[in-house]
């Protein structure tokens, strides 16, 4: 039975690990509860064929005990597993007459880890198969030195004059991230701006059109008005003329 969310929250890390183990597909594969194509096993590890392979000849090497990531594992197991990975690589090269292999480890979901059980991938590579490329981005000498001086005390490197640049290295990474984000933002903004400019132009155009239309309409109105005024005036004049004519008739009558 699966625990509720409430129960999960109350569990200790050990209990959580135990639960993870119980639900782990790879633990079941190792125990033989789920069928697999097992290639090798010893006291520390088990190798099975990946049934969703990156290439023809893709092996998953699993520690027999359930560990999520490499740093949790005893060094003895780590050492043995990498030696077995080497031998598996050799077997792949020979079996498929291959010219290359990758050994690949993802520690943590962010690194591409999909299952909670640690594993080493060993698979065949062919020229231009596009499966995996480690990008290479040049770094400035100053940034390289900052990182170097930051890491040196932790790797027990040769004693060097280590400046207090611990913060600087982290700052550098943050700055780089910020810079990348800013560049991205600028790009988006420019895109947005271009859109706005186009919209604005469109609006202006339609505004002008509207104005032009309005002007024509207005002119028509004015013309109509004027016409009407002229008509009215004419009528008035006609009336007046008639009155005058009538008056003249009356005057004529007087002289008659």
């Amino acid at each position: 039975m699966q625990p509720t969310e409430e129960e999960l929250k109350k569990m200790s890390p050990e209990q959580l690990l135990e639960l993870q183990k119980q639900n782990c597909i790879f633990c079941k594969i190792i125990a033989g509860e789920i069928p697999s194509k097992k290639l090798y096993q010893d006291e520390h590890c088990v190798a099975v064929l990946d049934i969703n392979p990156a290439s023809e000849g893709h092996v998953l090497l699993l520690p027999k005990d359930h560990y999520q990531i490499l740093p949790q594992m005893p060094e003895e197991v780590i050492a043995r597993m990498f030696v077995v990975a080497k031998e598996l690589s050799h077997a792949i090269l020979k079996a498929f007459n291959a010219k290359g292999t990758n050994i690949f480890v993802a520690n943590g979901a962010i690194a591409g880890q999909r299952a909670p059980h640690f594993m080493i991938h060993v698979f065949q590579r062919k020229q231009d198969d596009g499966i995996l490329t480690i990008p290479a981005k040049p770094i400035s000498e100053k940034d390289l030195m900052t990182l170097k001086n930051h890491l040196l005390p932790f790797v027990g490197g040769e004693k060097q004059q280590v400046l207090d640049e611990k913060k600087d290295a982290q700052q550098f990474i943050e700055d780089k991230k910020e810079l990348d984000a800013e560049i991205q933002e600028e790009k988006e903004e420019k895109k947005e701006e271009t859109k706005q400019v186009v919209q604005l132009k469109k609006e202006k155009k339609s505004e002008k059109k509207k104005k032009r239309k309005q002007k024509i309409e207005d002119d028509f109105d004015k013309f109509d008005k004027k016409e009407k005024e002229m008509d009215d005036e004419e009528e008035e004049i006609e009336k007046e003329e008639k009155t005058i004519a009538l008056d003249l008739d009356k005057i004529g009558d007087l002289f008659a």
């Binding site: 290439s55 690949f104 995996l132 290479a136 890491l151």
Partner: protein, 165 residues
């Protein structure tokens, strides 16, 4: 290439040389070279692999703890088709962070059960040849016995079933 003269040299001992490469995948990317000029993985003695694997794990932990990364990749590019660019064998330890622009996911091949079985049988043959098991695990022997037993039981059951009208 000589990793010892790299400006990003972090440390060296008789087995290995750790370097910050000039063109990292992400800031903090460490390349761990063998101290001896081996080129491919198959040339590197097991004892050196063991040492380098333990160091790679330690470096991974250093990156977790001191460069605020949330994950690491450990990659060996063995051979030119696999991306190897240096003539010296090395392991890459790459710190991973959110939105770092890296993507190491591949698209799985669609293979039939038959294809997989062919690959398996071929690989199994070479795996058995190459991997020298110092002592064949007792568990394997037990499992083999168990499989035989299960197989016989199944046969027995099948026979029983067939006998039924």
């Amino acid at each position: 290439m000589n990793p010892e003269t790299e400006p990003g040299l972090l440390f060296k001992d008789e087995n290995q040389i750790a370097v910050l490469p000039l063109k990292p995948a992400t800031p903090g990317h460490i390349q761990l070279f063998s101290a001896q000029p081996f080129t491919i993985l198959e040339q590197v003695p097991n004892a050196v692999i063991e040492t380098m694997a333990i160091t790679a794990n330690k470096l991974s932990t250093v990156l977790f703890d001191h460069l605020n990364c949330q994950g690491t990749n450990i990659i060996i590019e063995n051979g030119i088709p696999a991306g190897q660019t240096s003539s010296r064998f090395s392991m890459h330890i790459i710190p991973r962070r959110e939105n770092d622009g890296l993507n190491f996911q591949w698209n799985p091949l669609k293979l039939s059960e038959d294809d997989l079985n062919t690959i398996f049988l071929r690989l199994e043959e070479f795996t058995n040849q190459i991997i020298i098991q110092k002592e064949k695990s007792k568990i394997i022997q037990q499992e083999e016995k168990k499989t035989v037993l299960e197989y016989n039981q199944e046969n027995y059951l099948l026979k029983q079933l067939r006998r039924m009208p």
